[in-house]
């Protein structure tokens, strides 16, 4: 659905849109672990190329804020949240790879609010695949990808998977 060049172009466009809308306000990118963190780093690099200043980048683990804890077979692994700067009064752009039901973003917003009071929270995603269960919409989208609920969207990134690619996978037959 997206190859390496397409993925890179999408991130470049998102970076330009973020810069344009921020208009010089204090800006930080917070990636949702794991792939959102990597995407946030890449967007920050691109912003550094456009503006003279690289925005601060943090990483958020939303495991402790999930709404489905206790209803899963086993507890998901808790990873660290690393946001070594104050959120107070700044513009925070949450970055994630795939936007689906919106529940992860709900959890991420709760987590951010516990860490401080940003002036604005915006949302950047590489892929919006639809099927929202909460009233959440992204501000910056790399690609809208209509999917069926049964399919899954795999975002592969060099740092994690050895290549940059987005593919839709059919559900595996049980």
């Amino acid at each position: 659905m997206l190859d390496q060049a397409g993925l890179d172009r999408a991130l470049t466009r998102i970076a330009h849109e973020i810069v344009e809308q921020a208009g010089g306000a204090d800006l930080a990118l917070v990636g949702i672990k794991n792939r959102g963190e990597t995407l946030a780093e890449r967007i920050a690099e691109k912003i550094a190329g456009i503006e003279s200043k690289r925005p601060a980048v943090g990483a958020l683990d939303i495991t402790l804020y999930r709404d489905d804890l206790g209803s899963r077979a086993e507890q998901p692994r808790v990873r660290s949240t690393e946001i070594p700067f104050s959120l107070k009064g700044i513009t925070v752009v949450l970055v994630d790879d795939v936007l689906f039901t919106g529940r992860t973003i709900r959890a991420a917003m709760d987590a951010l609010m516990d860490l401080g009071r940003p002036r604005v929270i915006r949302l950047a995603v590489l892929v919006d695949r639809g099927h929202r269960e909460l009233p959440i919409r992204p501000d910056y989208v790399g690609k809208n990808l209509p999917t069926s609920r049964k399919e899954s969207v795999a975002v592969m990134l060099r740092e994690h998977d050895g290549q940059d690619r987005v593919v839709i996978q059919e559900p595996e037959e049980a």
Partner: protein
């Protein structure tokens, strides 16, 4: 690997991969302590009962803070001033508490095996917070977390545990856990305080302090438990302190990067000289800080074990 157990009763029954899972989770939990608002909603609506039949400040407070930072409701129940004094049996008290639907019971009891008994009879999760001279698993876990943070790894490290091994549940849990993590453990103390079964646990035994600590990466000093010293195990406190007390002078023969640990409460001037307790080698307060993170990790992992 994922945590599947309902209870945490002993280190003897816990596998190395499970220990690593707790330590990794605890590592992530530490960040919460640095926040301005120290609370995450993870265990909202869960109830934790601290059922303590023996005195404790550190462990009980640590569990209470851990539970509260995860948004659970924590209720403290102590043996004294309760129905236990009116003759209610341990198991009856526990059954009554269970009837109020807690999710986790944290239990400290003087009888070895008390927590295991509860784990068998209660549907909720049970955590052993110390049972007689048997085990104190969360203490071993926080010790390992502290060592891993300071040394970067566990495997291959030399640990020397000094003092009253016989009466120490901390030593027993530490030995089991450290052996599983590939560490070499030496125990040192007067022969009256070293149980003969030590060799079966895969540890070396030494009866000379200088020899035991010379190559140690970690020295764990145990508290001399006066309250259990009624059987003539040592000639006198002063003599014990002179032979087995850790002083700055004795530390000069140790590795320069040695860590001094102690499960607390410290008898200053008995097993540890005040200068050593406050020295740069001492990580005693790091242990206490890590205790909260480890207990948050255990509470989190156990809360997921009964979902299916």
């Amino acid at each position: 690997m994922a945590w599947k157990r309902k209870d945490l009763v002993s280190m003897q029954d816990t596998e190395a991969a499970e220990i690593t899972e707790v330590l990794d989770t605890a590592e992530s939990m530490k960040e919460i302590a640095t926040r301005e608002i120290k609370k995450v909603p993870t265990l909202r609506g869960k109830t934790i009962v601290n059922l303590f039949y023996e005195a404790s400040t550190r462990t009980r407070t640590s569990f209470e803070i851990a539970g509260k930072w995860l948004s659970a409701d924590v209720i403290n129940f102590s043996g004294s001033g309760s129905s236990a004094e009116k003759g209610e049996s341990f198991l009856d008290t526990a059954k009554n508490i269970e009837a109020m639907s807690p999710d986790v019971v944290v239990v400290r009891h003087k009888a070895p095996g008390g927590p295991a008994l509860l784990a068998k009879h209660l549907k909720c999760s049970v955590i052993n917070a110390g049972d007689g001279a048997h085990e104190h698993p969360t203490q071993a876990l926080l010790d390992l977390l502290t060592i891993r943070q300071k040394k970067g790894h566990l495997e291959g490290l030399n640990v020397t545990i000094v003092g009253d091994i016989t009466h120490s549940r901390v030593a027993r849990s530490d030995i089991h856990a450290m052996r599983k993590m590939g560490m070499t453990v030496t125990v040192a103390g007067p022969p009256t305080l070293i149980p003969p079964a030590c060799q079966d646990m895969g540890v070396k035994v030494s009866h000379r302090l200088e020899e035991a600590i010379a190559h140690a990466d970690v020295i764990m000093m145990l508290r001399l438990q006066h309250e259990r010293m009624t059987g003539g195990f040592i000639p006198s406190l002063r003599e014990y302190s002179r032979v087995w007390g850790l002083t700055l002078d004795r530390l000069t023969h140790c590795r320069p990067d040695v860590l001094i640990m102690h499960p607390g409460p410290v008898n200053r001037g008995v097993e540890l000289s005040p200068e050593v307790a406050d020295s740069q080698y001492s990580v005693i307060l790091d242990q206490v800080t890590n205790g909260v993170a480890v207990r948050m990790a255990v509470l989190y992992l156990l809360a997921g074990s009964r979902a299916a």
